[in-house]
């Protein structure tokens, strides 16, 4: 048996079939995303035929549809997708870098940081609009850097980073809850947005900064994706393979935090999207190759579908954060069931 002959055949074929598989998945996910996008534009409180939807998208004025599609559904759907892409990609980047699927940015303090900044800006400083976004991004980045700095001791150990993040998150969460109780004329929608994430009242103007950050930070993440994948082998092995571990870590953190903070500034901390997208993508696409794009698509799906479900398929209108947050509990239980069977990590 010619060993090298056989394995060379299987190696290349193996790689080719893997690329094909990935291509199918990404294509399939994108198609699904597009389909649900179309659905949300057509079917809401009323049904708008596809022709009319198209006309509105092209800028024409259609009676009975322009408002519903153009002002209500479109901004909502666009924002959901952009936020979902950001959360999904940032989440899996963190989980890969820290080598732990439980170490997602919404658990280690980044989301709390951004929300705290936003809530503070709105309630205490009475700011609105872009100013709030800037505050959110600034405080998100600030918290991330503080967590990074606090866990720095002869380099950053993933463990310490996560634990410090959890501590900081707890502190910020109670601050947010407190500030919310102090806001007298707080209406339900706004409070929900900052406690658990919502795309109610979305405006298309919010989408542009989100898109810009997605392109820039997403781009940075995609270029480091090879080094990021190498980090899964452990800091030492990755270093031995020529990866600049600290630099890669820092880049990933800054880019991921940028994504999360900007998205949170627009929609609030949509619970668990960053946490779930990575593991779900890993289940579908397999452990090989970069999960950045698949997780981003899954994130977008989660938010888009979650919002739709929360609006129309529940006994009362729930913001998307409650729907996705509620998904977290069954997922954790699913982990338990798997634990009994295989006793392994996610």
């Amino acid at each position: 048996m010619s060993v090298s002959g056989m394995s060379s055949f299987s190696l290349r074929a193996d790689r080719r079939s893997l690329s094909l598989q990935r291509g199918w998945f990404i294509g399939g996910l994108s198609a699904l995303l597009l389909a649900i996008f179309a659905l949300t534009l057509m079917l809401g409180q009323s049904f708008t035929p596809p022709g009319d939807v198209l006309k509105v998208l092209l800028g024409q004025d259609v009676e009975g549809a322009s408002f519903a599609v153009g002002q209500l559904r479109l901004p909502r759907a666009v924002l959901s997708i952009l936020a979902g892409l950001s959360f999904g990609m940032a989440g899996v980047a963190f989980q890969t870098m820290l080598r732990n699927p439980l170490a997602s940015p919404d658990i280690v303090g980044v989301s709390s940081g951004a929300s705290a900044g936003a809530v503070f800006a709105i309630v205490v400083l009475s700011l609105k609009g872009t100013a709030v976004s800037f505050f959110a991004v600034a405080s998100g980045l600030g918290v991330a850097l503080a967590v990074y700095g606090l866990s720095f001791r002869n380099g950053v150990a993933g463990t310490r980073l996560i634990l410090v993040g959890i501590g900081v998150s707890a502190m910020l969460e109670s601050a947010i809850a407190y500030i919310l109780t102090q806001a007298p004329e707080w209406n339900l929608q706004e409070a929900m947005r900052w406690l658990t994430g919502s795309v109610n009242g979305a405006q298309l103007s919010q989408a542009w900064p989100l898109l810009a950050v997605l392109v820039v930070c997403g781009g940075v993440l995609l270029t480091t994706s090879r080094n990021l994948t190498a980090l899964r082998l452990g800091d030492d092995t990755a270093g031995a393979l020529g990866v600049r571990v600290s630099v890669t870590r820092l880049l990933v953190i800054v880019a991921a935090v940028g994504l999360i903070a900007t998205a949170t500034a627009a929609t609030g901390p949509i619970a668990f999207v960053a946490f779930l997208s990575g593991p779900i993508a890993a289940r579908l696409v397999g452990p090989r190759g970069s999960l950045l794009v698949p997780a981003a698509l899954i994130g977008a799906l989660l938010v888009l579908a979650g919002d739709y479900v929360g609006q129309f398929l529940m006994p009362m209108r729930y913001p998307v954060g409650v729907v996705t947050g509620a998904l977290g509990a069954p997922y954790l239980i699913y982990l338990l069931v798997r634990a009994n069977k295989s006793g392994s990590t996610l």
Binding site: S8, S10, R15, L233, D236, G239, L241, G242, R288
Partner: protein, 277 residues
């Protein structure tokens, strides 16, 4: 293939705030198998890590072919210097072929294009470690000995001139220990790779090393051929144990027999050089 001389000059290195190595100098002979030995916490691993650039020294430098490794871009360095660390982490669900392929990382640019050269490197690595038939298996399912061979294959796929290994045999049973060390000898003979490894078993070290260095007191206590280094005096100074050194009749290399308080024959000190009474 260039002759790669790895030279440590005046190295002072720390491990968790503690100064472990001080003014250590060592010249690793190119194209040979060198083994570093020493007591626990003597700094053997720290030395290896410093030599592989994983650890930044507080003072001194490490030179590869005359150039400081700290001023070489990591990717470039990884193409000529490989390291197998002590407890490498295999991601869940990764296959053998995939893991070994990771060894090509430093040779691939930003847009990882797989060339024929990459494929060949991986194949020959799989063949050299005799794990080609395990290529599709999950690394988690393999035995300790098999897994170690997979890691070595990954380091091999990197196709470096120098290979550093940190205690590659520590958790393996006797059979796999010997297998791994024999594999390294094959590699050294076939490709001329300079191999530096840390071993805690003195006798295996003496048997397989062309060059032996003993670390004690934060510096190199003795270095040279196994015959020169493995003497009763040196062993006592480095490890704090009394011993008898005889010639191993199976390999012709020195072999140390530790002398404890019990289970030592009355005339143990009367043993001749070949172990005869």
């Amino acid at each position: 293939m260039t002759i790669s001389g790895l030279v440590v000059e005046d190295l002072t290195a720390c491990y968790e705030e503690r100064e472990v190595l001080r003014n250590l100098s060592l010249a690793i002979p190119p194209g040979k198998i060198s083994v570093i030995v020493g007591a626990n916490a003597s700094g053997k691993s720290t030395l290896l890590r410093a030599m592989s650039r994983l650890l930044a020294p507080r003072a001194g430098q490490v030179l590869l072919d005359g150039k400081s490794i700290h001023h070489t871009p990591p990717r470039q360095l990884a193409q000529v210097l490989g390291l197998l660390p002590q407890s490498p982490i295999a991601p869940e669900g990764i296959t053998v072929a995939d893991l070994v392929s990771r060894g090509r990382h430093p040779h691939q640019g930003l847009f990882a294009r797989w060339t024929r050269e990459d494929d060949e490197a991986v194949e020959s690595a799989l063949a050299a470690t005799a794990i080609a038939d395990l290529a599709e298996r999950n690394v988690d399912e393999l035995s300790g000995g098999q897994r170690q061979r997979v890691w070595i294959a990954m380091a091999l796929a990197q196709k470096t001139d120098v290979l550093l290994l940190d205690e590659p045999t520590t958790f393996l049973d006797v059979r796999h220990q010997v297998e791994v060390l024999d594999l390294l000898v094959d590699l050294n003979r076939a490709r001329g790779t300079t191999i530096v490894l840390v071993l805690h078993d003195l006798n295996l070290a003496a048997r397989y090393a062309d060059f032996l260095a003993a670390v004690a007191g934060g510096t190199i206590h003795a270095s040279g051929t196994p015959d020169a280094v493995l003497t009763e005096t040196t062993i006592h100074e480095v490890f704090g144990v009394s011993s008898r050194v005889i010639t191993d009749p199976t390999s012709g290399r020195p072999m140390m027999l530790p002398l404890g308080r019990h289970r030592t024959l009355e005339n143990a000190s009367a043993l001749g050089p070949a172990g005869e009474l």
